[in-house]
């Protein structure tokens, strides 16, 4: 456990780790197809479900692995207490940008790696301008709209008042069922 604490607190190790994890992430994003504008836009147009298949597969595997790691003390919960004003409004603004740009903050960088210059000069430059605008308005948003309508609890098992493993089982059945339906429908 002490070696894990050392890894987490060593600045240089973390820089190398971030870069390495980023490389693996970019590689997997490109291989899954989601760094392509057409794949993302066709997901939002509901004709190609590659993005959802990739994301749900990640969640199906990750949910079980994370729960085990957390129980064994290797990982901590990093979930924030959400609000309607922050998560719903922010999510919808993000969605509008997602459709207009055709990439999200990770896949825009991946698209740059595949040679997409609209992702570089439009997407990444726009992201930098956007976060700058948000930073400017942050002090007035923070205690205003961002804190409006807090959710009652932090996690889904608390919300459903169920044991985490039972919650995971239900969610896994729903996600696998949804993917089977997609495949059955030929999507």
């Amino acid at each position: 456990m002490t070696s894990l604490a050392w890894i987490r607190n060593n600045r240089r190790t973390q820089i190398v780790l971030g870069f390495t994890i980023g490389i693996c992430f970019g590689f997997l994003l490109q291989k899954s197809g989601v760094t392509d504008y057409g794949v993302i836009e066709n997901q939002l147009l509901l004709v190609d479900f590659t993005v959802l298949k990739m994301m749900l597969s990640a969640v199906i595997i990750g949910m079980i692995v994370f729960q085990i790691l957390k129980q064994w003390g290797f990982a901590n919960l990093h979930a924030a207490h959400g609000t309607l004003g922050s998560n719903v409004i922010g999510g919808l603004i993000f969605g509008a940008g997602f459709a207009l740009l055709g990439y999200c903050p990770g896949t825009v960088a991946g698209a740059v790696g595949t040679g997409a210059l609209d992702a570089l000069f439009g997407g990444m430059v726009g992201m930098l301008i956007g976060v700058g605008i948000f930073a400017g308005f942050y002090p007035s948003l923070k205690d205003g709209i961002l804190s409006q309508g807090p959710f009652p609890v932090v996690t889904v098992p608390e919300f459903l008042r169920l044991n985490p493993w039972i919650t995971i089982f239900i969610l896994e059945v729903c996600m696998v069922g949804f993917l089977l339906l997609l495949e059955y429908a030929g999507l």
């Binding site: 820089i15 971030g18 980023g22 997997l28 990982a75 919808l92 207009l100 439009g122 932090v154």
Partner: protein, 179 residues
């Protein structure tokens, strides 16, 4: 040989690549004690640029006191993604320089200024929305959902609701009107 064959494939099943991303997100939570997100890096980069232009003003801003602009784990994710995707596309021979995506071009034409302008506005909305919601498709959608975060699952649903509405408007209303 088998491994190299996989690396040079044009694409993998989204289920296989997705499973890898799920495991990678868990690895980030163990080794960095952080969710694998992408939008924080843009805040750090924007803060670093701000410091070059006007250090005093940037250091006074509350948001850059919460998310400190420096080269660290979260910052390095973005250069990493660019290199990783570059490697993947070079190995499979799919790397190629483009200004206008084919689907966009087939409906809105191949005008570079129009496409980059739309991408710029999209990028601005994406940046504002990601920070407004406190995360992006990977931070909320994958890492947050993995941790059973209620806020993350609601946020990810809203990403797609907003995205589907605007994509349908673009391609099924405006695009059809242009044709």
């Amino acid at each position: 040989m088998v491994v190299f064959g996989m690396l040079t494939q044009v694409s993998w099943s989204p289920y296989i690549a997705g499973a890898g991303i799920g495991l990678l997100s868990c690895l980030a939570l163990v080794l960095a004690d952080r969710p694998l997100g992408c939008s924080t890096a843009f805040v750090k980069a924007r803060g670093l640029i701000g410091k070059m232009i006007n250090a005093e003003k940037t250091e006074r801003m509350a948001y850059y006191r919460d998310i400190v602009p420096r080269v660290d784990w979260a910052f390095m994710i973005i250069p990493g993604i660019i290199i990783g995707a570059l490697l993947s596309s070079l190995l499979s021979g799919t790397f190629h320089v483009t200004w206008v995506p084919a689907l966009w071009g087939s409906v809105f034409g191949n005008n570079v200024v129009l496409r980059v302008g739309a991408a710029l506005i999209g990028g601005i909305l994406l940046g504002i929305g990601a920070r407004w919601a406190g995360g992006c498709t990977s931070g909320h959608g994958i890492s947050g959902s993995i941790q059973l975060s209620l806020a993350s699952m609601i946020t990810a649903t809203c990403f797609f609701i907003g995205g589907i509405i605007v994509a349908m408007l673009l391609y099924r209303v405006i695009g059809v009107g242009l044709a």
